[in-house]
Symmetry: C2
Subunit: 473 residues, 2 copies
């Protein structure tokens, strides 16, 4: 495994060049986060569909357990059980608009990941970066367990466990565990753990910081890359369910799925579930004893248990929804933990928004009124007084401080931006599919996907490394 | 499936250009041999090991169910459940000798398969062609079910079902069902079904032709590519056993295998089996209730049932050995059918050679003395009188006619050539492995193989086709 070891060294030095001035040294994280032999154990897989132009290319990389969809370039990187989804990459000839300036793409957008270490990271692209719109970049970056990278650039970044960089740019910065940033250029900035920061330049800014001690209870990553806390205990409980699926070349589903919907063969569907029309359940989603209503979807690393989705619901990457009744159009943001129990169930009224990185850990039954927005840390009904607001009131606001949250700017623009985004997600996912080409989304386009399984060398100096591969184009 | 259809057309026209002057039109064979949807169903897989230089490259091809090991190039070809084994390819810098002239390889030898249709064909290389030693060619060729191509060139060739071209050159020629040729340039030659022809220019020539009606009983391929006969009934019986193996990404063996041996995860081992040291059992071999003694091996498409191999036995590609006791060093050639039953068992004495394409279909117990050579069609003990000989007598012969067999030339050279070849096979397979690098063979080198699984597009005009892929180099 000499070459794999050298690759780890190489990545560490590349990342440290950018981040050590800020007091970060990723060397021991990289050394210890994942036992080396695990990098031999898992295979990468790569979907082929007629809708996604492919150009998969990598060399000198380790891709253990990684899922890739759409155009990609990866080299000298370690991707461990990451999900690299290129199904919203822009195409050659597309016209994109940034800040009112239109520009045309010279070639199909690609995902470039170079000298990076991504562990269980979700990379899903809908890039918003005017610098080079053809390249979705993630360079010299370390992204820890269950972090999300949604709209690059990135570059010399450290992302903590369960953290999210959303419609991001960024550059050599540090995102703490469970922090959420919408980003922009954050060069030389350190974002503390558990900060939720949504900012649109000149328009609005939302800020929330978790109370002291809360983040550590849910996510704690030590210097050796060992993760503990409620989140990891929760997801570890369901680890085993993925094993039979991932040891089968063409796993088969044991549940009825309407023709207009797609349930990935690499998702777990357990117990008594109902899958509606136009739904999308992607790989590494885990759904148990739940009803997924028409037009709803569940993204990577979602855990949905004993819950009802009335329809058109979105559960963003890493969202966990347990013993919860979701009205129509309810949106649950990235890595949110909506954790009811049989005794203490949660009800979320229609059109409500659970912001990214919200924890609702019910110690009593909790009822969220229709058309609400919820953020932060909620364990009791009364917590909603300072951690939520009606979306009508929010839209009228020009600024407020409520509990640990502050908002400045145009409330209407904030609400509209959110609504616009949710409707974009639904559209992309094919929620409104009516049989026409224009309404086809991921649920329909991914249906005929087949999977290439790629395994690393198992012995010798190359053990754990993949051969150079070029697929497509 | 427009592109796949066009590919079939293209292959048919390329092959017919060479073969239609000889009265062959492969168009309806290609159209009907395999239902089109099957080409979508099966995946190709490709082994990575540290010992086999790889450069897998293909485009516009269908590879349904095909296994590839070692350097390859394939394009505009249909390979259906073929085994393409490149584990004896020569390497850059190797010195090869042909007819006393030495030459050095400029680059690693590759397998080139272009505009060909190979169905369940075994391609295993140990090429003997001085024309271009760097390229193992099979161009514009149609090879039907369970045919074997062992040492190319080939080129504009039609190979019938269960036929074998061994240390071959050939060029636009026709090899009938179940015919075996050692080859050389056979341009514009038609080999009738069931002919077994071994020739070394200027040294010796062996010829056997099956009695009228026998070949048809065992193998019959109609103009529509539909196969019938005892052979196909026999192998079809065990088809189901391969399904669970081929639907698993990393199939696991349920049997104890010594460290010095290799049993492919894509072989079937059923019932009560014993696997000795230094044995090799490759993909698509089927072994049931048998003892595979030290240093023995079973090649692709072998079926071994209720049999004992005392040790150092070779069963060449497609050999079937049922209710047979094999003494030490017994060799069973390509596609031979050594078919005993519980009541009518077969015993083969040590050091004996069952020639390629021999049928021993026992209607009574049959005992083959030590150090014999057997050929042709044997159903009773007395048939051995005209279908076998002691190897000592053969070595003294300068020519004979016996039943349907004729031999001319130097018997000693013939026996020595065979012995030399068998010992080469054993050596290559690692039968004599003693822990040293020099004695490592396939059994040892393939141990850490891991498998890339490649699936074709499932829908749209590209359905059944593979994307352009380059792996390695």
């Amino acid at each position: 495994m000499e070459k794999l070891e050298a690759l780890f060294d190489h990545i560490a030095s590349r990342v440290n060049v950018n981040l050590s001035p800020m007091g970060v040294d990723v060397r021991s994280l990289l050394k210890n986060a994942i036992p080396r032999e695990r990098h031999l154990l898992y295979y990468a897989f790569y979907a082929l569909t007629e809708d996604h132009p492919i150009s998969f290319q990598f060399s000198n990389s380790n891709l253990a357990g990684t899922y890739l969809l759409g155009k990609t370039l990866v080299d000298r990187s370690v991707l461990y059980k990451a999900n690299i989804r290129g199904d919203e990459l822009k195409r050659k000839g597309d016209i994109v608009e940034f800040n009112g300036v239109k520009t045309m793409l010279f070639y199909d957008e690609v995902i470039r990941i170079i000298n990076s270490f991504l562990v269980k990271t979700l990379v899903h692209n809908h890039s918003k970066n005017p610098e080079v719109p053809e390249v979705f970049r993630i360079l010299n970056t370390v992204a820890m367990h269950y972090s999300n990278i949604h709209g690059t650039t990135t570059e010399g970044v450290y992302l903590g466990a369960f953290s999210t960089a959303d419609l991001s740019v960024m550059h050599n910065c540090i995102i703490g565990d469970f922090a959420y940033v919408q980003a922009g250029d954050l060069s030389r900035v350190t974002i503390e753990p558990g900060r939720v920061w949504v900012k649109a330049n000149g328009l609005f800014e939302f800020n929330y910081i978790y109370p002291k001690g809360v983040v550590e209870k849910y996510v704690k990553l030590d210097d050796n890359g060992q993760l503990s806390g409620v989140f990891i205990d929760y997801v570890d409980e369901f680890k085993e369910d993925f094993i039979p699926i991932y040891s089968t070349a063409t796993p088969e589903l044991d549940i009825e799925v309407p023709e207009s919907s797609y349930v990935s063969p690499y998702a777990v569907i357990k117990g008594d579930c109902e899958i509606g029309e136009n739904t999308l359940i992607v790989q590494r989603a885990h759904v148990e004893n739940s009803v997924i209503g028409r037009g709803a979807n569940a993204q990577e690393n979602c855990y949905i248990k004993n819950s009802i989705y009335e329809g058109n619901n979105v559960t963003a990457h890493g969202g966990k929804v347990i013993w919860t009744h979701n009205g129509k159009n309810v949106f649950v943001g990235f890595n949110s933990f909506v954790h009811g129990t049989k005794e203490n169930q949660i009800t979320i009224g229609r059109d409500s928004i659970i912001m990214p990185h919200t924890i609702i850990d019910a110690e009593e039954p909790i009822k969220i009124p229709v058309n609400s927005i919820v953020w932060g840390y909620v364990t009791k009904q009364e917590d909603l007084e300072t951690q939520s607001m009606s979306l009508c009131d929010f839209a009228k606001s020009t600024g407020f401080t409520l509990g640990n949250a502050t908002f400045t700017g145009d409330g209407k623009a904030f609400v509209e931006a959110f609504r616009h985004r949710i409707s974009h997600i639904r559209e992309e996912n094919g929620s409104d599919y009516d049989g026409t080409d224009e309404t086809r989304g991921h649920a329909q386009k991914t249906q005929d996907a087949c999977f290439n399984i790629l395994q690393p060398f198992q012995s010798g100096p190359e053990a754990g490394m993949y051969p150079t591969m070029t697929i497509g184009d």
